[in-house]
């Protein structure tokens, strides 16, 4: 099922929780060009708070972030008691390698798992366009 493409009146909103400023800059640039509205959070706690407002359609979540781990954020966002409303698709973007069991666990909770070094910004946009949002 094809996802809705971005329209000027109904852009998809993306929250990028990423502490590497250069990377978030590249991603934000490509996503904005593709018509998304992008917010960037460099801090884990602030990112979690922003995500819990349920304003975003897509959340790009890095695993190595300050003050709280990406895994913790993921768990909190997926816990209905702590995050009662969460309609966004959560995509893990990371350069960390996990043990297989940890990765499987993460993939179960998230809607996607990407290794940043293996995709370019455009490929990320391509990937998101196929998400069912």
């Amino acid at each position: 099922m094809e996802a809705d493409t971005n329209t000027p009146t109904n852009p998809k909103r993306v929250l990028c929780i990423e502490d590497e400023h250069f990377i978030s800059e590249l991603y934000a640039r490509a996503l904005t060009k593709a018509g998304y509205e992008v917010d960037v959070q460099l801090d884990g706690q602030k990112g979690l708070a922003a995500a819990q407002t349920d304003r975003y359609d897509i959340i790009l979540l890095d695993l190595m972030i300050p003050n709280i781990t990406g895994i913790e954020v993921l768990r909190t966002l997926r816990d209905p008691r702590q995050t009662p409303r969460m309609h966004a698709r959560i995509i893990i973007t990371t350069n960390l390698e996990q043990r297989e069991d940890v990765r499987a666990d993460i993939e179960q909770q998230a809607d996607g798992y990407l290794v940043k070094a293996e995709i370019t910004p455009h490929e990320l946009v391509e990937f998101l366009s196929h998400l069912d949002v």
């Binding site: 990377i23 640039r29 350069n95 960390l96 043990r99 940043k116 370019t120 455009h122």
Partner: protein, 513 residues
């Protein structure tokens, strides 16, 4: 010691008797000839001389053996304890003895006693020599030592072995060495294979292996040691194979720490790599159209290099996982042509910047395969990457896929470049193999093929290479059709099959996960 005096007395008496009889006979003879028969002259002389002659002839003849009997029995007794005498006569009965009975009896009984003592000592020392448990060297050796019989069962394990393995000698004895020591080797050269080869061909043989493992990495504590073996075919006691273990667990286990080092390094490498690839894409798209064709080509090459670097970082990581038995594969049903198309598409930039085209020939109606998509992708990517590297100057690489006669899906990557020298061929799947004479040729195959073999093995397939120097190389790998995988695994319809990929070769041919 009075026995000899008694004997002497008896001997003197006998001798006296014989001489007396002899003289009496001569006197009687004279009397008969002279006074009774009254012979005279020459007849008388002849008759008188005849008697002593007769007795001289007869008496010694009749008495010699009696006088000599003691000596005979002594001689027999000595022969009895002399080694290697075929006729060993038992001790004589007292009735057989006559002259010097006490002396001979005493001496002979001492000799026969000595004989049985000697026999006992001999038997004891032979048994002691055969009994390894009583052998000082075997028992005191601070290294684990095992002795195997013709069927590779453990005949003897010394104390150091029991301590090392944490099992008593009685538990180990009688077991097959392969069951007792679940060994894994770094290469195809295993104990099982070497013994098989030696039994057919050598009278004696010895061999050593480095970094042999008991227990697989990642599965709890394992022991890592160097192994030395000595084989001899004709040992009379059935001690056919001797094994000695040199433990290096602490030293070699430190290499396992490498995993966290690798994980950290991979993360640090990937961050700038992400940025490089991102900026290259931006420049290629936004600056590209304004650039000269030469500069555009440079952009493409930059992109290809960044991809290559990312792929190599993946290889490092996967190899480290394999070493740590952490590379877990989830086998699913996949369409093989789609996997191939993805790989070929991803590698085409790297091929094209070198003027190489990847041509595919995929058989129609291939069955679905049971593979872990991510790792089998790594295998194909590595094979294509190698082909690109070896293609110096040539312009085509062929990738073919078809069902082979064994019903397996066989994929081959063929290049027409440098080829691989026959002396190197057996080693190309080894990690880091470097042949100092062919350094220029080998650069870069250290990890990719090692990784590919481990992954293909874990899929239940096989990988092989054919090459002609300066002509071509073909690397072929097989994977199982999904239906065959289900049969083999008896998974009862479970679509997920989990495997572990590792670089260790199990000891014997029975291993098939």
């Amino acid at each position: 010691m009075g026995y000899f005096e008694v004997f002497l007395r008896q001997f003197r008496a006998r001798l006296f008797l014989i001489i007396f009889i002899n003289n009496a006979l001569i006197v009687a003879d004279w009397y008969i000839v002279d006074q009774v028969v009254k012979l005279t002259g020459l007849w008388a002389l002849a008759a008188i001389v005849a008697m002593p002659l007769i007795t001289l002839g007869a008496l010694p003849f009749m008495t010699a053996s009696t006088l000599a009997k003691p000596t005979k029995f002594l001689w027999q007794a000595i022969l009895h304890i002399a080694p290697n005498t075929a006729n060993s006569v038992g001790a004589p009965k007292p009735e057989q003895l006559g002259l010097g009975r006490e002396l001979v009896t005493n001496l002979i009984s001492q000799i026969y006693q000595l004989a049985s003592v000697v026999q006992t000592v001999e038997q004891t020392s032979v048994r002691a020599a055969q009994d390894l448990h009583a052998n000082f060297i075997a028992n005191s050796l601070p290294l684990p030592l095992l002795v195997l019989d013709k069927e590779e069962k453990i005949l003897y394990a010394n104390e150091a072995t029991s301590k090392y393995l944490g099992r008593s000698a009685s538990e180990l004895t009688g077991q097959s060495v392969y069951t007792a020591l679940d060994m894994s080797f770094q290469r195809d050269d295993t104990l099982f294979g070497w013994l098989k080869g030696s039994k057919g061909q050598a009278v004696t043989a010895s061999h050593k292996w480095e970094r042999v493992r008991i227990g697989l990495p990642g599965q709890g504590d394992s022991l890592i040691f160097d192994l030395a073996a000595y084989y001899n075919q004709n040992n009379s006691l059935g001690y056919e194979t001797l094994l000695v273990l040199f433990d290096h667990t602490e030293v070699y286990a430190q290499d396992d720490q490498a995993m966290s080092f690798v994980a950290l390094s991979v993360h640090e490498l990937r961050t700038p790599l992400t940025l490089l690839r991102g900026y290259i894409e931006v420049f290629d798209e936004e600056l590209g159209p304004g650039l000269s064709s030469e500069l555009k080509a440079f952009m493409k090459k930059m992109d290809a290099s960044a991809q290559q670097l990312a792929a190599f970082v993946d290889n490092i990581l996967n190899v480290a996982k394999i070493e740590d038995n952490q590379l877990t594969l989830q086998l699913h049903e996949e369409a093989w042509p789609s996997v191939i198309e993805t790989v070929v598409r991803d590698l085409s930039l790297r091929a094209n910047v070198r003027g190489i085209t990847i041509k595919t020939d995929i058989a129609a109606d291939l069955p679905t395969v049971g593979v872990d998509r991510y790792s089998i992708y790594e295998v194909l990517a590595n094979l294509l990457d190698n082909a690109i590297k070896y293609s110096k100057g040539t312009s085509e690489i062929y990738l073919t896929a078809a069902l082979n006669t064994d019903g397996l899906v066989e994929t081959s990557v063929k290049d027409f470049g440098l080829g691989i020298d026959a002396s190197i061929l057996p080693h190309i799947f080894d990690k880091f193999y470097r042949n100092h004479r062919n350094r220029a040729q080998i650069g870069g195959t250290g990890l990719g093929l090692y990784l590919s073999r481990a992954i293909v093995d874990a899929h239940g397939g096989q990988i092989s290479v054919f090459s002609k120097v300066n002509e071509r190389s073909t690397i072929t790998c097989t994977v199982l059709p999904f239906t065959k995988l289900q049969e083999a695994g008896k998974t009862g319809g479970n679509p997920n099959i989990t495997r572990n990929a590792h670089g260790w070769i199990k000891n014997h041919a029975l291993y098939r996960d």
